[in-house]
Amino acid sequence: MNEITEYLTEEHEHCDSLFAAAENAVGEGDWALAGERFAAFQDDTLRHFEHEEAVLFPEFEACTGMAAGPTMVMRDEHVQMCDAMEGMATALAGRDARAYLGLSETLLMLMRQHNLKEEQILYPMADRALPDGAALVARMAAA
């Protein structure tokens, strides 16, 4: 009965690992590796946002009638995270470790408090509210 929570929490974990790997490479000054790892992190994070915004949130809003509630807050925070990632991409292109690490620290706080709210509150609500979590997970996996 926790399919949505488990699937999306797993995606968070995966993105966290990619985030840390990219940051560690910047910290070690390995820019080529950092570029690869950051690209993987950004791609998978954007795919995760897409899973939520295109599949989960519309279903959740339709089922609960909460269109201007938690999903709106989560969408706003996705925009903030995208802004921070754009800044990191610019810093990476300019090989500016100081700017990258300052922004990655900021993104980490933003991302982790966002994830915590989703994992503690939104996903469990979705698991309770949506009738067929397994089918929804299958749609996200296929997207």
Binding site: A20, M66, P70, V73, T90, T106, R112, Q113, K117
Partner: protein, 424 residues
Amino acid sequence: MAGLSYDQGPVLAAPLRLFTLAPLFLMLAAVAAIGPGHDWSQGRWSPDALALTHLLTLGYLGAAMQGALLQMLPVMLGAPLRWAGGLSWCGLLGLATGAPLLAAGLRWGEPALLSAALVALALAWLPFLAGLAGALLRTPSGGAAAWAMRMAGLALLATVLSGLALAGGLAGHWPLPDLPRLVDLHAGWGLFGWITLLVVGVAYRVVPMLQLTPAYPRRLQVALVCLLVAGLLAWSLADELVWLRAPALAAGGGGGLLFAAVTLYLQRRRRRRLADVTLDFWRLGLVALVLAALLYLALAWLPATLRGAVEVSLGVLFLLGFAASLVNGMLYKIVPFLAWFHLHGQGAARAGGLPNMHEMIAEAAMRRHFRLHLVAVAWLTPAPFLPAWAAAPGLLALAWSGHELWCNLRAARARFLVHGGRLG
């Protein structure tokens, strides 16, 4: 669902005014303890030691913890404190006046000062407790972290009520039938209940969140909270039921050791390998907790002649080494992030044009604070075994570290304002 929205969280001014108040008490405590005629290191019952303890616990830790909970409960448990702005003002006014009044009242045994402190501290804590109780009861979040914080909230309630009873009793408003016992209960519930359980509950969420460590194992989370609560209850009843003394000692000391060991182990397995001043503050705090727990366990076997000094060392390790280190580390994550977050949320600029977290407070300045704090803890822990004058360099380091922290927090505030941020 209010907890999902920062718009419904407090404005930046609410936690920030408490955070910037807190380090002033580190400076005040250090300055108050310097100079001839002070006997804080000679035993925890000395008026100087009582005064200093309350400047640290009420002033520094109290202000920082109130500010942090106003800000973090919405994220950690999905439960904001209602009337956060009002609570913050009550905390600021109550603690800024109440902690020095209480310290002075205890130092000089002056009933008028104690009476004034009683009123100010009731203002600081009773509304906050009501708000905290509402949030902890409303939270949709389950699990060991929420339970640890609920237990910490109960311990805070016991600490505050016993503290107010003690202040009023010492001021002569009502009789205090068993003063030493009430003082012990007050200290035990404050230190082992409120501070330890709060740190444990916060760590369950914050350590994996900020340091990208594995999560604390679920069963261990529950077992540790049960162990600490059982230890606290057993310790509270051990005067009447003597057979509870050994289990209480083992549960309290063992619980502290277990928490520190597991957290240090998880931090070794963190995915983020970068140097991080918050991580260093946490490691220092956890090592101090290990030493404090070992001293606590050793107390039962120590000769009575050594006990007074060891208890003071234990207090320094626990309050400055453990609790203050963790609070310092957390402030360096919370304040720069909030400054950035509110600037971004207020539409001051896109993320790339805003100062990032590292630019809100310079890394070198945080490092300087860490080193001063480390010197203060290392110097003051053995101070009870040295001549009184030998503590002076440690106290100077403490005052300087408080000043450094205050400057760093003010720097973040100044950068926030320079970039067009609105505090309220």
